[in-house]
Symmetry: C2
Subunit: 642 residues, 2 copies
């Protein structure tokens, strides 16, 4: 056994000689960002070896200078002696400081109310089949000595008119003591369905006003939980955090690969339930002084992979042709089945999936966006860790998924990061000096750059002639912000380490730009092909809804300039926030919204881009700024003077 | 901390100074028979202190001689130093050697077939709603890329005609890998109900012939498990053992008291599931080479207390006036809910209860006895740890429970024991010498006397003039088998310690006889009052069925002689074995038998003896041999020459 001291965390653990440092850190519950999950491809798991020896290999992610300083990658270093390690604090804490869109309560309410209004005007009723009722039972006597359960059933039959009265074991276990706590005065929580009534909870005394539900949006990157009062349908509180699965891979493909390894599925299932959702629920209960037993309904929206891992279902066939999801509609579930910190009998409903890469988050998003009721043609783009696109109106809906990868959340970019504290989210470049002005989340020293920042940066670079339309940096610019390495690869310096208190300069190079161009090309060409498959083009669009975490600081004009979004009237664009979460909120407060979700999933046509004829050509054409065919971007053509 | 060495078990454990020796033994998993559960009232938990010191109190259960030898009661001795203890081996192993009725397979089959025949001739159909079906699914392609679950549902809709196809989470978790194991050829196990089909298991390949269920009879004293082939309804195997709850109390009242203590309910729930039933199931699976996943239906019969503890439901109100059971009909359950070692989705059905002391074991017994279809008047007596009585025919049924206590299983008798190896089960007494001849279970040295032995003994004592009709031993008999202590209490010596290899004589004294007379009086008067409540008497009886563990070696003539059973034609009596087990077997193989069970429970009237006017007088009159009113026992009157 050898000893590993994580000096930054003041934590000392023991491991076997030869253990991978990344695994040791994970076992010690020390978060090291490793989006590529140990494939030595992203270079994000850089840590500093302070003393001792590791067995490591050279990698392009560590410069000569960094080698001297002791930097290694945790994912390709094996511990061979007692060592001391420093995990860069900004990286290790990036998950906790993650910025989640719509944190302001007013803004939240506006978004939720907008969706409610759409639902309301289109005939969805705001009621559920869950009820609470305070009842006063007669006390048992020798002459009236039916069982406790029969006493309740008799009351229900005689007073509520249900002949079939069901209940679950955990309710039965509560009944005897609880009925007698307050002289046989109890409150029943029950679900009505046809002629059957299912009792899902029993409480002492009158608790008829405590009826809550939670809407949960499980993103690949972040998870949001909303506490909702089911009596008045009000949003009470919201809590969010990073998805604790992140340490096992940044995107769904890496998670699926990890889940296919020994115990991997169980590890990821536990990570989402016990390390992400349950702590969020606990914090929200404590803050609002609510018992978990009063949470009697849960609606979850998630992409197909996240939904499967949430249920502990094997995911490997999602990533293998012909890309088969395990399920579209989940089975009937209660909280206890997956150890969710809610009432054990609470119903847990998952928004139905459409395909392997168009999941319940998209059906929920479409529900809240109201596309199903829209007379106008709507293009819906969810820019998260995945890129999903829906096009349609009240008569039809088409969907596709783009392999955009995690670029919009900083993946595949050397200095890229998620939209958390220290991320450069806005960039402008002075046309004279080519010096940038940065907007940084948290107004602190910059740590890296996030998706919206990269969009701004690339836009500013092309507008100021720093890059050409292929993303190549011009060689004849006389500016200290631009430099080329020994292989001739150019980079632009966003922040010199001396300007701030940094260990290294923050730069974006041609490889990063190329990665990002391919990501934006995937989205644009996906949307384009989706319309083509109907014999249409972008001129038919009446509305373009942008949803997802990326959207928050997204500059629409810049996004059109680089060719991520189509060049249509700017007032057609609308940012609709976390539409997936809003959709699960609607399904939580409305039975007819749940039914609508099922309808949406059934009606939506899925186009598998990877086998769609002509998609590759479209994609290649879109890997250009803004596009190979500049005529598709008339307003940009003028600006760029082409 | 002090050290306790259980020398007999070669087991050494540590405990706190002042800990009760009985608790220390239980924590160490060493079985010490303690039927009264530590009330210092039965004297059964006698152990020998070999060295060290305990803090104990004098008790009538330990003689002066035994004190000298180091005997103490585990239930009133606290450990105050390191000690060495010897647990008498015969006591500690009595549970394992317990004799269960009907062990012979032929005898079993005869009993089961008799019940099947009754059911068959009375219109019960032998089929269930559980099916298996081998199906060959088409393999997914890019053009046919519906989810795995949808693929199965589509097949079921198109080929089996069910529109609603449900499945449980544990089945969903199996689906993706399992479907691909054998090229999408799988066997479904499902339950049909109205228009709905619920898939409860999926297996690779064709396993259509492996469909099993288990019938479980949970007695207060012993537990029996039957493995049944659900395709041909054959009884495959049977296993039985003592109920591991015994160490926490011999009868239901002591169990209820224990269950009301801190953690007591959980301890008893675990004892029945994890220490009794699951080990029995495991042994039966191993022996018959069957996977637990192939057990897809379970039927359990148990008295109301045992059924509640089986489900982990609080029982304390069962023993408090007005004696309210928590439930009659259990909720819908699957194996996973109570961690039963069967398929997690297997349905678990409990025979419904009628009252606090007439449980599912009695409804199941009545089902198998066929009273519900009988033209004749049947008296049904279950002589187990409790005494339950049913009287009726196809038109009506009445039931009651007698507080007979555990006397029929050796409780309340100083040398009493359950019907396990070493128990004296038959006794005859030579009229000349008054010397007994003993029938001993296992043909070994005697350890104690069981219920049927006591019946024989008391009968022989009255026939030979050793006792009078009040159970008092005659003083003027010149025989070394009879002696009186300093208080004048007489005892009869069944076995001198020198005759066998015993530590003490085996005797039955006047206090024991008195206890037993009260138990038999409770049964007789219960039956009598039950008939009186209908304005009838024993002359209306066409049949008397004796069921339960006691029945096996029961001598009917002797039982009538002492006034346990009514003095009616001997050929009206029939021993029907473990009728509760047979009833749950019927419900396992027949849906209509299950429905019949519900009907029986609904129709049966319960008479609460403890508040029935005149019951106490009847009971007092019956506490006499055979009865105060000898005219009710004409044939005995002649024999006894009264």
């Amino acid at each position: 056994m050898v000893k590993v001291l994580f000096k930054s965390h003041e934590k000392e653990v023991y491991c076997k000689e030869g253990d991978l440092l990344l695994d040791v850190a994970r076992a010690a519950d020390i978060f090291i960002d490793a989006p590529c999950n140990g494939n030595v491809s992203c270079g994000k798991c850089k840590v500093k070896l302070l003393s001792g020896k590791v067995d490591t290999e050279k990698t392009r992610h560590i410069s000569q200078d960094e080698i001297k300083q002791g930097y290694i990658l945790a994912c390709n270093s094996r511990v061979v002696s007692d060592i001391e390690i420093e995990v860069p604090s900004k990286l290790s804490s990036s998950m906790h400081g993650m910025k989640i869109e719509g944190v302001g309560k007013e803004k939240d309410e506006a978004i939720f109310n907008r969706a409610k209004k759409i639902a309301d005007t289109n005939g969805l009723k705001f009621c559920t089949n869950i009820r609470k009722k305070y009842i006063e039972l007669s006390e048992p006597t020798l002459d009236d000595n039916i069982s406790d359960v029969d006493r309740i059933q008799r009351y229900v039959r005689n007073n509520l008119g249900y002949n079939e009265v069901d209940f679950r074991l955990d309710v039965l276990r509560k009944i005897p003591k609880l009925m007698r706590k307050n002289n046989f005065r109890v409150t029943l929580t029950y679900i009505q369905k046809k002629n059957k009534l299912t009792i899902i909870d029993i409480e002492s005394g009158d608790t008829g006003q405590s009826l809550y539900g939670v809407a949960i949006d499980i993103g690949t990157t972040s998870v949001v939980v909303c506490l909702v009062d089911l009596i008045n349908q009000k949003l009470i509180d919201k809590a969010s955090s990073g998805n604790a699965q992140i340490k096992y891979g940044a995107d769904v493909i890496n998670r699926i690969v990890f889940a296919s390894k020994k115990d991997g599925l169980e590890v990821l299932h536990r990570a989402i339930i016990h390390e992400t959702i349950n702590p969020l629920l606990q914090s929200i209960y404590e803050k609002n002084n609510i018992s978990k037993d009063n949470i009697i309904s849960v609606v979850v929206s998630a992409n197909t992979t996240m939904a499967s891992l949430f249920l502990g279902v094997y995911t490997d066939y999602l990533r293998r042709e012909p890309y088969i999801p395990p399920f579209m509609k989940s089975p009937k579930l209660v909280g206890e089945d997956i150890e969710l910190d809610v009432n054990p009998s609470a119903s847990v409903y998952l928004a139905p999936n459409v395909a392997s890469y168009v999941g319940g988050d998209i059906t929920a998003g479409v529900l809240s966006a109201g596309i199903w009721a829209s007379e106008e043609n709507v293009l819906f783009i969810d820019l998260g860790t995945n890129g999903e696109i829906v096009f349609g109106n009240k008569d039809f809906m088409m969907s596709c998924a783009c392999s955009a990868g995690p670029a919009f959340e900083g993946g595949g970019i050397r200095c890229g990061m998620r939209a958390s504290f220290g991320a450069i989210e806005k960039v402008t470049i002075n046309p004279e000096t080519l010096v940038p002005t940065l907007g940084i989340i948290g107004d602190c020293d910059p740590v890296g750059i996030c998706g919206s920042g990269i969009i701004d940066l690339i836009c500013q670079m092309i507008l100021n002639g720093i890059i050409d339309r292929r993303g190549k940096i011009q060689k004849d610019l006389d500016c200290n912000r631009i430099r080329f390495d020994e292989h001739g690869i150019g980079e632009y310096i966003l922040a010199f380490k001396d300007e701030y208190n940094l260990e290294n300069d923050i730069t974006v190079n041609e490889v990063d730009i190329d990665n990002f161009i391919r990501a934006k090309g995937a989205i644009y060409s996906g949307a384009s092909v989706l319309l083509q498959s109907l014999g249409m083009d972008f001129t038919v669009l009446d509305k373009v809804y942008i949803a997802g975490g990326i959207g928050n600081s997204l500059n629409i004009e810049n996004a059109i300039t680089i060719g991520l979004l189509p060049d249509v009237d700017r007032d057609k664009f609308q940012y609709i926030g976390n539409s997936s979460l809003v959709g699960s909120y609607l399904a939580l407060i409305s039975r007819s919204a749940k039914n609508k979700l099922e309808e949406i999933a059934n009606q939506m046509t899925y186009v598998e881009l990877s086998v769609y004829p002509g998609y590759m050509d479209e994609f290649v054409s879109a890997c250009f700024i803004p596009h190979t065919n500049i005529e598709d971007f008339p307003s940009i053509k003028a600006v760029l003077n082409i």
